[in-house]
Assembly symmetry: C2
Homo-oligomer: 326 residues x 2
Amino acid sequence: MSIEKVARLAGVSKATVSRVLNQHPGVRPETRSNVLDAISACGYQPNLLARQLRTAQSNMLLVLVSDIANPFCSLVVQGIEAEAEAHGYYILLCNSASQLRRETAYLSLLTGKVVDGVITMDAAACLQELKDLIGDAPWVQCAEYDPAISASSVTIDNRQAAFETVHYLAAKGRKQIALVNCDMRYLYSHQRESGYREALSALDISWNSVAYAGNISCEAGRDAMRELLARPSLPDAVFAVSDVLAIGVMRAAQEAGLRVPEDLAVVGFDGIPLTSSLNPPLTTIVQPMNQMGARSVQLLLERIRQPRAAVVHDLLPWQRLERASS
Amino acid sequence: MSIEKVARLAGVSKATVSRVLNQHPGVRPETRSNVLDAISACGYQPNLLARQLRTAQSNMLLVLVSDIANPFCSLVVQGIEAEAEAHGYYILLCNSASQLRRETAYLSLLTGKVVDGVITMDAAACLQELKDLIGDAPWVQCAEYDPAISASSVTIDNRQAAFETVHYLAAKGRKQIALVNCDMRYLYSHQRESGYREALSALDISWNSVAYAGNISCEAGRDAMRELLARPSLPDAVFAVSDVLAIGVMRAAQEAGLRVPEDLAVVGFDGIPLTSSLNPPLTTIVQPMNQMGARSVQLLLERIRQPRAAVVHDLLPWQRLERASS
DNA sequence: CTGTTAGCGCTTTCAA
DNA sequence: TTGAAAGCGCTAACAG
């Protein structure tokens, strides 16, 4: 069922079949339809592996995600996939769980020419290790990036978003604004904490309280909130660096008998859809997830076509979605 | 940077380098270490495309998912990925959104020998169309399957789970048990509705009410619940065929001033983690998501190794997780 | 407009 | 224990 068989069936050469397959101009219509007939007659399907080997391009993109079960990640992946599809590219997904072993395995596909480029969404702290494995293959860092790495990135201005959020809560009359942060291996974690602290000092508020969640899950958010509640001075607002954490924060608050938003305002981050259906609906900082994915693909494809294209660091706009939780 | 270069550098033939690369026995230790030295000296990385073409196997598995942003799907995918990794396989993910065009594109990778087999999680109603595209390539249907298709499947006993759930609610004293179902393109949707109806008739309860959500999102669940609430006779319990829908159901109930569980018991389905952090925590029917993914991979690999292995339809155990919502 | 030929980089007989 | 050579299925010069 190779191209050779089709060629024999149609009474032409392999080259002609190839031309028809790739819609090259300059094939006599009659020959063309003969070939097409032969193809459908024997149900021929081109061997993509052979084609990719020959043309040295695979039309596949590797996406390295730390946790696909995190809705933020999966929504960015949706954006990646849609844009990739629009350009005739396929997505190979690696749910790395930030495990170097797994990442290494998948990255061998990059060096092994099975994929044309890679988009990483892993924690900044993990990126440095990937650097050597990726070498100078086409690479775009999405949502997270290491400033010391010369690969393009697509993010939002996390520091600014956090800064504005604290101002927003203060304007709402909140005096004791706490932060539920996560793993400091993430750059955004540092950036959002900076924004938080800078805003407090700009507002001349000395009260502050920060708890760190062990991972990005509701349970971790709940634990972090419990920690906050165990401290001598209680917050009247909590800003969580992720919606998923915020869900746990609200839960812990409610378990402790606090009313949201009366006793405690809660604001999340990311803008995942289900925040609108929580009890109460959650105020959140929306990241343009689809767009971040799409833009990453665009930058990656540019780099694939033009390996020495300039490195760019894109900052996309975020927005606040105000709901009942604050 | 091909195998040829390494061969020259080590002063051996390509064949010997290949033997070392593939840990074939019968290479003199000294030759072996020479080759290894040459490999690291020039930073050689094998071209996997060429290898795959030659050996006619890629160690890649295609996974066709209808919606990766659905936590149930992403948790199954996690199970798939972990098991695949344990066997040295990679995952190519297609987030089909049940669009035939996209599925067709990805399935050309199957016929094109880029992947060794496929796991589908798409709605049963879509599977028939995929049948021709997949032909008799290795295929396992996960979570959803079409009984008329001769490919192995991995699911739970949906009918039984629904049947038991209605009994559970009745035992709790609920008399008016409604069902929030989804898209009837899914087989599980039929099966769970059958279980629901059979249980009601076994219990001699004639009251019933079913609403259909347009898709699997909180919003759709909310709309379905609003529809239920607009009917003349109100339910005192709702069984939703998905946790995500149940979140919307609870929201709509609370918006209508109903207390959960006092006025309305709510039970979900799937067992996604965040159900434990909802307000109130949601009672749910837990599917063994990781295990379903893992088992699918096992069956698929068996079939890849043994193309005429028997078709099996695996039923995995589910369990009820009782929480405050009921 | 079409055919011949070479070769992508690898593995795998077969022979030495 | 190692090498030479064939070939996986395709595309792309180069001729004709």
